[in-house]
Amino acid sequence: MNPALLIPLQLLLTCALQVLFFQNMALWEGYGILTFHTLGILLLPLNTRPIILMFVSATVGAVVDLFAFGGGLFTSSAVAMGLFLPFINRLLAPREGYEVTDEPSIKSMGIQWFSIRTIAALLIHNLWMFSLEAGRWNLILSGWGKAVTSTLLCWLLFTVVLQLVQAKGKKR
């Protein structure tokens, strides 16, 4: 599909699924919170400009906030993730750099690259989100625990979804 259409479609679909389904799921007494909209941000092209990435992240977060009554919580967390994502990409770049055809998917970059990038980005998002949400110092530790478990759950979900949606290709 044409990337100019695919990218907005991915963002729209992940936001819609988050708002309609995943926001209602709170597993393991709040230790398994799913943030499916972050998959749309993670799937943005690797060469996206950092400022554009942050604006798109803010928009996605604001849409989820609006429907999940998050009051800016998801926006703030998505912007934090948007800031660090280019740094993570740079840290994980192959020696020769990314090729123009590289996509941030399991199919294009392999499961190891995808997993490290996804877990790092989601950790930033979730640590930011649960720290803000805790609102008190005595709840911070349990918030960080929730961030770690929710990150692992989201990573598992994203991996399964991408393996199902995207055909298996040659790893780098």
């Binding site: 977060g61 926006t75 005595n138």
Partner: protein, 267 residues
């Protein structure tokens, strides 16, 4: 001017981050888990139709119609109790039946959405109860739906009393364990024991007096200067909440206006 431009260009990413964070955080701080306003009403209307549909599908097999009829009958009976001269409700309360179609119970600032709105007489500030236990209060309404915040919301205080003639304090959930809250500012001289009822005072105008919040938990109270902080076991099981009643003491607006008068006349 040129230096300023160079600075902006050099640190554009951080500057954009700071601006976006400032906007997001000001939104977060201004709402603080208290969803209100035009956008919230709009989202509530758009999304609740879908959430209501999901709720209907998932509960279809559970004889929900019969449950709702029983609930309405219960509401009618409670309203009649309110008209009785021997009732604690003293002719002031009316009850509306509603179903919880969406809720968060695992966060520190939780909320729930009910399938009844202004068309059914739901108003902002009404108390929400289930099986005789206090649940929370309504903070925003549309024609068909309403949002409430439960007792397990760490930004709210509730006026509570131990027993019918016991000490009055400030009941609050501080996060963490969702089965207990804390009753603050109880005098050291107050007499109570584990299992004693903790009930509404009716002072806030949200609930009528004597609605059950919970019971004094089987834990040692904490000393806080001249006062005690008493752990309270909630009567309601929030995570299994489905059908609730909304109560209107008709006093909320009066109390608010009196408080407004006091605030304006204060030096």
């Amino acid at each position: 001017m040129r230096n300023l431009w160079n600075f902006i260009v050099q640190y554009q990413v951080i500057l954009v981050f700071m601006v976006l964070q400032a906007l997001a955080l000001s939104w977060f701080i201004s709402s603080r888990g208290y969803p209100k306003g035009k956008w919230v009403r709009l989202a509530l209307d758009w999304e609740s139709a879908w959430q209501g549909q999901i709720s209907e599908w998932s509960h279809r097999a559970e004889l929900s119609d019969q449950n709702f009829q029983l609930l309405e009958e219960n509401a009618r009976l409670r309203s009649r109790m309110g008209q009785s001269s021997v009732s604690h409700f003293k002719n002031r309360s009316q009850f509306i039946a509603a179903e919880v179609i969406r809720a968060t119970w695992t966060q520190n600032q939780n909320h729930f959405v009910l399938d009844q709105g202004e068309n059914n007489g739901v108003q902002i500030g009404q108390g929400v109860i289930a099986n005789g236990a206090a649940i929370g209060k309504i903070i925003e309404t549309t024609q068909k739906y309403s949002i409430g915040i439960p007792l397990i919301h760490n930004q709210l205080d509730w006026s509570a009393r131990i027993g019918n003639s016991g000490a009055i304090g400030r009941l609050k959930w501080e996060g963490g364990d969702r089965t207990t809250g804390m009753l603050f500012d109880i005098p050291r001289s107050a007499a109570f024991k584990p299992g004693d009822s903790v009930i509404t005072t009716g002072f806030q105008g949200v609930f009528p007096p004597d609605i059950l919040f919970g019971t004094v938990a089987n834990e040692e109270p904490y000393f806080d200067g001249e006062f005690l902080n008493v752990p309270v076991q909630w009567a309601a099981e929030f995570q299994s909440l489905r059908y609730v009643h909304l109560t209107d003491t008709n006093d909320g607006a009066d109390i608010d206006s009196l408080e407004g008068t006091f605030n304006h006349s204060a030096p």
